[in-house]
Symmetry: C2
Subunit: 308 residues, 2 copies
Amino acid sequence: MAITVVGSVAYDSIETPAGRRERCLGGAATYFSLAASFFCDVRVIAVVGEDFGPEQEAVFKKRNVDTRGIEHTAGKSFFWEGSYLENLNEAKTHNTELNVFAAFNPQLPDVYRDSEFLFLANIDPVLQRRVREQMPDVKLVAGDTMNYWINDHRPALLEVLKGLDILLINDTETRVLGANKNLVKAAQAVMAMGPRILVVKHGEYGATLFHHSGPKGKSAEHTFRAPALPLEEVVDPTGAGDSFAGGFFGYLASQKELTPGSFRRAMFYGSTMGSFACEQFGTERLQQLSRAEIDERFNLFRELTHLD
Amino acid sequence: MAITVVGSVAYDSIETPAGRRERCLGGAATYFSLAASFFCDVRVIAVVGEDFGPEQEAVFKKRNVDTRGIEHTAGKSFFWEGSYLENLNEAKTHNTELNVFAAFNPQLPDVYRDSEFLFLANIDPVLQRRVREQMPDVKLVAGDTMNYWINDHRPALLEVLKGLDILLINDTETRVLGANKNLVKAAQAVMAMGPRILVVKHGEYGATLFHHSGPKGKSAEHTFRAPALPLEEVVDPTGAGDSFAGGFFGYLASQKELTPGSFRRAMFYGSTMGSFACEQFGTERLQQLSRAEIDERFNLFRELTHLD
């Protein structure tokens, strides 16, 4: 099956304790697409400027990602500059230039219309909603967001949440969106806004899947935790969350039937892809990855957490 | 088999978002003993003042904990006052009174000498070492410490670490003791100081067991992660780490043979006991617990993390 993803395709300048990279290919839709491409067909909707050329296009093509929904326009691509010198778990943003994204009006190519899965990567909820409305009949819709939209664009975000099956965000975002310091209660509040499944990403501690259980359900019985891999060196955490989402949603899209077991394995594949993303700068590691390496690491995660 | 534990038996005044309790029975050795008592025989070495009476003694007796090593002396018992109003993961200490602990010189009762397991709960490393030296032939020695000893009593602590098989501390303590921001590298540095196993407690994210693998080993292959239970309400996190240690070490002491599987299950029993400790103030929940409830929750942890 195929996933259509809408989100940023961008350039990032990144500084971490391991070094610095200028203007490497990044963006949530890029990380998501590369990670998901190991599991299913992926189709991207994004906008890029004149600085996006054949070399960048080739990164997607090599992974067989459909780029016909990437609009090329005059100007420069989205640009982000950030560092992780103090804390590898949280980027410090030095510069964000929306550039061509400022006037973006996403259009679904006809050839994408039969996608059964839709992923709304972290962009303006107004844009997320426009894409969602062009695909009313998809089988499963997942999405991401960030504190900026939660705090300053809440009404637009709440509209998007109504149309989501699954939301993937981090601990802080969950607590802010759900307005509760307790993660379980915050998760329940977020699921009451629309998504029946909430995946909370804990960075180096893995991720938790919460399932909406109704007012009388015991939440723990519907909860699943996947670990993260303790890494000796985190070269660059940029895109780890998007890669998690790509592994998670890509695996789900590869399944004929979505059982509770599918979601459990999807969480482990998410953690697997997130761990690879951190090992090199930008998308370097994802570009060189093989499916055999992915399955080997999946088994390492099982070893890491299973009693027998 | 039997564990001898040395540590504090104390009174705590605690404030959390769920309420306040004055002078409830606490102390690392108390939490550890009650948690471990569900798995094996437990013998306590501690000192208490005149404020420790039959009512407190009964808490230990009800769980069949041997208190013949608790020295009764003139004065008041160790007292701690703290709150968790801002952050449930970290106590803010308002007052610490060593009282009778200031002049404590721990003595091993003869009836404790055949204990195969020794746990050095978080107290002055000078006292930990004195007990360790009185039990040179135990099968397994584990211990705990805290930032105060790591920062201000490092030489004494390093002497204790040389005599430990297992150290159980939290993330921050590991990073400070191992002098590295990266948890895996910090863990390796700590294990080079003595303990061949390091259990890092992550609070609401569970715990990781690191195993010393030598200079060329791949650490991930010797690593095991246990989750924590996502709790809808944390009434009082005081003693959760000591209860984790009690479940972990108590389970190990109940095993005829210590296999890698024993350590994995011990991690899950540790998480299980830690989760119970948070559900009520002080030791209230541990006092009312049954083994059936423990095994039921152990299975819930398996459900929470296992793929199949």
